[in-house]
Amino acid sequence: MSDDDMMFIDPHVHMISRTTDDYNAMRKAGVKAVIEPAFWVGQPRTNSGTMLDYFSWIVGWERFRASQFGIQHYCTIGLNAKEANNEALAEEAMDLIPRYAGKESVVAIGEIGYDDMTKLEEKYFIEQVQLAKKMDMLVLVHTPHRNKKEGTIRSMDICEAHGMDPSKVIIDHNNEETVKAVLDRGYWTAFTIYPGTKMGNERMVDIVKEYGTERIFIDSAADWGHSDPLGVPKTAKLMLERGISKEDVKKVTYQNALDAYGQSGRFNEEDWLNRPPIDQSQTFSGNTVLRGGHRPLTEEELDNPDEDDLIIE
């Protein structure tokens, strides 16, 4: 993919919708760590029990599954804007959030913000910003697909009105129309390389050329839709090809995300730099990591599968 020694962070990706092949491809491409923001799952939830199971999933099973493929998994916890419109669900979900927010892999409250910019969306957005403030946590803001510019400005207004320091807030899914205002107000400014609806990576190259690399980073937001979990490493390669320095590429594909989320105290480079080589039969903290039933693979085998082999053992 990119230069062999480059490391990447994908700070926004919904791995619960992805396959183990994606984890393999990401690791091979140099992705070391991912952040999975809590979001809606395509099908609307109808009760808070499914929300509870979803939160448990992203702090539990998904983190374990990622570790089997050599990727460190973190998440953000929050009530998304779409489901904030179901008031009964939202009220119960708000009670769940403090039960998860303190966990060791939870790096922010998020993704929260506006979808249709309704009153209910705003109510729960504000409540969650207040919770983040009270718990001294970071906030990840999802900016809306429609009416994006207004939604982005209003999101920043709300964060500031409730005492959030912009350096503790990540505004995500930016584009050419929002980037200047977000940078000017001191927020972390994230871009999502997502085919069709959000940023294309050629446009991203131009943004970095125009605005530089301070407080800017990229993610894939890959999920159940037509999206690409290799969005970050592919864009890094494109940036290098188009003359952006390796140092700058590192900032927008690794370092800035690390600096932003590192403020949580729960997102540390040592977690992945000191990772032992994967050997699925090996022990991990004194325990074997592999779910059983088949022959454990070593990292070398995972990195070099024989694509033409028709035999499935």
Binding site: W61, E104, S105, G265, T283, N287, L290, R291
Partner: protein
């Protein structure tokens, strides 16, 4: 079943004090002060969020190093809680269980209600600590379903927290749930020798399940752990004679040893003939004082 439940009911405070001493010896001064003050707070009707965030926050304070214990400390553990030794316990796990034992001061219904809530929302590290603590909590009768749920976990680390170095399952789980632990340990390639009470709770149904599992593995061209024959041994009879002969003919010595150890522990009428045939190997077993634990350890190392 044993009468340990009562004993454990009465001793959880002493166990808590023991854990506190161990933490004091192993944590730096500030960290110990944090955990001790947190524990005091949790013992006195804390707000819900204080319980959840304190429990979640432990590893950020203590780190996750696996702790070493002296023989003397291991004996102290066993004297307060029969069959329990702190093997493969990390600092955060000990700290978390210590906090829960303090929270138990708030009474049975509060303790059981909140610990279930913590179980339900636990992340990986929390789940491991919660299940490791099963043998140490007061009201142990109340955790049977929880233990069985841990055994069903897809996360090997969680399964091992219930299965390994934990006296709870052999003391409290019924035969069906117990048999699942042993069978599943083989399925997820987890060692059997770390399962407390393995020999004492061997049973005929389990032996049959294990032999059938071996058949399934052989049909698929897969290896079978030599430890599989340990709980089968006491129930070996004519029905399994072809199976045990197959293991005796295995090219690996460790497999042959396991077949012989199984035969030696059985009442099977044909055992003397088979043992006689492999006199040299039997002598090696005797000379080296080979036990099932040695077989398990050797296989675990070879396998990894």
């Amino acid at each position: 079943m044993t009468n340990l439940s009562k004993q454990s009911d009465y001793k959880y405070r002493e166990i808590r004090n023991l854990l506190e001493n161990w933490l004091q010896d192993r944590l730096d001064k500030d960290t110990f002060k944090w955990i001790q003050e947190t524990a005091e707070n949790l013992a006195n009707q804390p707000e819900d969020w204080e319980l959840y965030t304190s429990f979640s926050g432990v590893p950020q304070h203590t780190g996750k190093n696996v702790l070493e214990f002296s023989d003397e400390e291991m004996d102290q553990a066993e004297s307060l809680r029969k069959n329990w030794k702190p093997v493969e316990w990390a600092a955060d796990q000990l700290g978390r269980v210590y906090l829960l034992l303090n929270f138990a001061e708030n009474g049975k219904s509060e303790f059981l209600e909140k610990i279930e809530k913590i179980f339900v929302t636990s992340d990986l590290g929390e789940a491991v600590a919660l299940y490791k603590g099963l043998a140490l909590y007061p009201f142990p009768e109340e955790f049977k379903n929880r233990a069985a749920e841990g055994v069903r976990s897809n996360m090997t680390t969680v399964f091992n927290a219930v299965a390994h170095y934990n006296p709870y399952p052999s003391e409290y789980l019924d035969e069906e749930a117990w048999n699942q632990i042993v069978l599943k340990a083989l399925f997820v390639e987890s060692a059997l020798y770390k399962i407390v009470g393995l020999d004492g709770r061997a049973n005929k149904t389990l032996a049959k399940m294990l032999v059938e599992y071996a058949h399934e593995r052989w049909s698929a061209g897969r290896e079978v752990s030599p430890e599989l024959w340990r709980p089968v041994g006491p129930f070996l009879d004519e029905e399994y004679s072809d199976d045990i002969k197959k293991v005796l003919d295995h090219p690996d010595k460790i497999q042959k040893y396991s077949a012989l150890l199984a035969l030696m522990s059985s009442d099977y009428s044909g055992k003397d003939e088979l043992i006689d045939k492999h006199k040299n190997l039997v002598n090696e077993i005797k000379d080296q004082n080979l036990t099932w634990d040695d077989i398990g350890k050797e296989f675990e190392e070879k396998d990894s």
